[in-house]
Subunit: 213 residues, 2 copies
DNA sequence: AGGTGTGAATTAATTCACAGCA
DNA sequence: TGCTGTGAATTAATTCACACCT
């Protein structure tokens, strides 16, 4: 029924299941089988059932899963049943793009925008104003910021992460192409498109050489 | 000596090793042990040695690895010993940010920028001009485009991937928060920051509840 | 009959221990 | 002596088969 130890790949797949369920829900579909959900998420039906079974029993035998119910359950499991408070550090092009990204709205509140460049301080972005990095510690406390989004250059990433950790955030979403360290209890997820692109060149190269599939 | 079957996690780590080696090389370091390289890449020394051993023997027992040599070897393994030709489809904010991203220069040539919005056609970006999507098939052929970068909204992603595949690209770097399908022989890597952010909320939530580490 | 939930079997990835070479 | 390279052991993840419920 509950959690012995969840494979982290399972968590990644839960996000896909949730997206598939949101699509289905929007189309008015009320029930899915593991087979259908698997199809929509691009995995196998075994995988779907096993993944869900780590967290509980959400389906009905002989019937399938109720879409709105499973959607709600997955949201809760993934911690999306509340609004997280985020700050972005590094208001270059990427930081600004994120500040204006429409997909944030519902589940995330962008409540801080920081940069070290004096020329940027005071500029308006998304729903706020760019502040100096020195204002971070107080902002994290007074605005209850839980997650820091790091969009600074590679060289500055670890230093910014340190400051965020010091200020008291619980998690970090790192966009810099760097391996950053955090103490236990502070989680990091990295989004690294250059690494993705390089994996791609590797696989394409292998395939071209035809040495193995 | 050579490849029985490479764990895909190994390929991901090779990218980190290469970055660490580039840092070390820049600092003028000429030799590293697996211990030092592991430290720099944030993994264990066992891992480094095992990962490298899938591809060959690059070190000297009792001494370590020669930095410039290993760097070159990893570049070759990862397919970075040549310049790849890319096109970006979807010239919204993210597409434009990528078009101007300085990190592309050396190993990637951006040779096409496409959008479906007539208002965008003809605008200048990065090193080129935005063209209509209808011009894609010919461009892929005449400019030998190998990789398509997809920066369109979620709903349009699969359709654009289909067109890129049809046009003849070998790999796709997908930024849309969607699971996209390709036929065998065409590789996809997805870069999905919303998925990353959701994994983060999951882990932080678990930690807060304190049920398991 | 139909489809979930899960223990067992299989396969994959990581960790370890140490032989082997400079 | 020191550090790599790798088979063997361990641990983790995936796949499967089927008992079980509606």
């Amino acid at each position: 029924m509950a959690n012995p130890r969840i494979p982290s790949a399972t968590v990644t797949r839960l996000v896909r299941y949730l997206r598939a369920l949101e699509d289905l829900d929007q189309k008015g579909v009320e029930r899915v089988s593991s087979e259908q959900l698997a199809e929509a998420a691009g995995v196998t039906a075994f995988q779907v059932r096993k993944d869900l079974s780590y967290f509980g029993s959400y389906g009905t035998r002989g019937v399938g899963y109720a879409v709105p119910f499973l959607k709600r359950e997955l949201r809760q499991i993934l911690g999306l049943d509340r609004r997280w408070r985020l700050a972005i550090v590094g208001m270059g092009r990427l930081g600004q793009a994120l500040a204006d990204y429409p997909g944030f709205g519902e589940r995330f509140a962008l409540v801080g925008f920081f940069d070290i460049d004096p020329a940027k301080i005071g500029q308006k972005v998304g729903g706020g104003v760019i502040e100096p990095l020195a204002a971070l510690p107080q902002a994290v406390r007074t605005r209850a910021i839980e997650i820091g989004v790091v969009t600074v250059p590679r060289e500055a990433a670890q230093e910014v992460v340190n400051r965020l950790v010091q200020a008291g955030v619980r998690g970090i979403l790192n966009f810099a192409p760097a391996v950053v360290e955090t103490p236990p209890g502070v989680w990091v997820e990295s989004v690294d498109f250059l690494a993705g692109l390089t994996r791609l060149t590797y696989f394409v190269t292998q395939e071209v050489e035809g040495e193995w599939i």
